[in-house]
């Protein structure tokens, strides 16, 4: 739902790196976004197209890599990937623990890399 402020941040970071690397055109940007976030890729691209007009990143394509939700069992340290639909029913396949987990990944908002000329 907050695609707009997030997109502004992405653009600022991308423009900064374009300057640092002395490139004149950003072709693509790869984001890593956790499965737990509700960001809509299509909306980010729309906002990005709008905000990036007249910048080095105009027309850049956003590629989104989803990062899976991973929990660690706090009893036996086993790490397991969990689908969003299964979040209320997590059970450790190793020790059958049902109620003591830590979130390891799944809430990332990360700019991994960009292609530029």
């Amino acid at each position: 739902m907050h695609e707009l402020p997030v997109t502004e941040k992405i653009l600022n970071i991308v423009v900064k790196h374009a300057q640092m690397n002395r490139v004149s055109r950003v072709v693509s940007i790869t984001l890593k976004i956790g499965e737990l976030s509700d960001l809509e890729g299509e909306w980010i691209q729309n906002y990005f197209n709008y905000l990036s007009k007249g910048t080095v990143a105009e027309n850049a394509i956003l590629k989104i890599e989803k990062v899976p939700i991973v929990f660690k069992c706090n009893r036996c340290q086993h790490e397991m990937e969990v689908k969003k639909e299964q979040l209320g029913e997590i059970i450790c396949p190793h020790c059958s623990n049902k109620g003591d987990f830590s979130l390891i990944s799944g809430r990332e908002y990360f700019i991994k890399e960009m292609e530029a000329q």
Partner: protein, 223 residues
């Protein structure tokens, strides 16, 4: 242009890093100033303002309290709070779907934060965006009300996984609904084993005392 012209630049930057760093700093500042900031989150209509009014009523002789209002159309809310004799600030969130540290810092500047013990932030009403933006608060508290249903942890897991306290409000509606508190608690505890859960009604006052006791303890431990 040919493909050779294109170079790959490693960016490796966290989009939320600025806000996260500012939140950490704000938490430390509040700790130094011995001001406890409670970030209150829920869907619209779950009972944030009602809970604040009940809580203020119970605690106004124990602590110096202030309220930062960020709920989008909550000018009414700020007025209700002011009528309860409490300092309150209305944040202009510009229609934003959440509060971030820069907004909270503006709110703090408008109240005499050094002269209060306890500040409540009534966050923007939704269960998605406020979960992703750290406000710098000392504790995160959420409300789920009975009419919203017991499946909400499955739909908004991030919110349930980050809060220190869950208040199940409108418990007076329980006899009329198919909400299963036991199932809800199981679902929440799997995401967040350390969370404190209180069943309350801002209408009848049921359970408010246990929540207020938790607050008293939290503020006292902090000071």
């Amino acid at each position: 242009m040919t493909m050779e012209d294109i170079k790959l630049i490693e960016v490796k930057e966290d989009i939320l890093a600025d806000n996260d760093a500012a939140a950490k700093e704000l938490r430390q500042r509040l700790k130094r100033e011995k001001t406890c900031l409670i970030n209150l989150m829920s869907s619209p209509g779950s009972g944030k303002t009602s809970l604040l009014l009940k809580t203020i009523e119970a605690l106004k002789n124990d602590f110096r309290i202030a309220v930062i209002e960020a709920d989008i159309d909550s000018l009414v809310d700020a007025e209700k709070i002011a009528q309860a004799g409490i300092q309150s600030v209305q944040l202009r969130t510009g229609g934003s779907c959440h509060c971030d540290v820069s907004m909270v810092t503006k709110g703090l500047a408008a109240i005499d934060a050094g002269a209060v013990d306890l500040i409540f932030l009534e966050n923007v009403g939704n269960l998605v965006c406020p979960a992703e933006f750290d406000t710098g608060a000392t504790k995160d508290v959420m409300i789920l009300s009975i009419p919203e249903g017991d499946d909400k942890p499955l739909k908004y897991p991030l919110m349930f996984s980050k809060c220190h306290v869950l208040l199940i409000n409108k418990i007076d509606f329980l006899p009329l609904s198919d909400f299963n508190p036991k199932l809800l608690k199981e679902r929440v505890k799997r995401l967040n084993p350390g969370i404190e859960i209180f069943e309350v009604s801002c209408k009848t006052g049921q359970g408010i005392d246990r929540w207020v006791d938790w607050l008293k303890k939290t503020v006292s431990d902090y000071a």
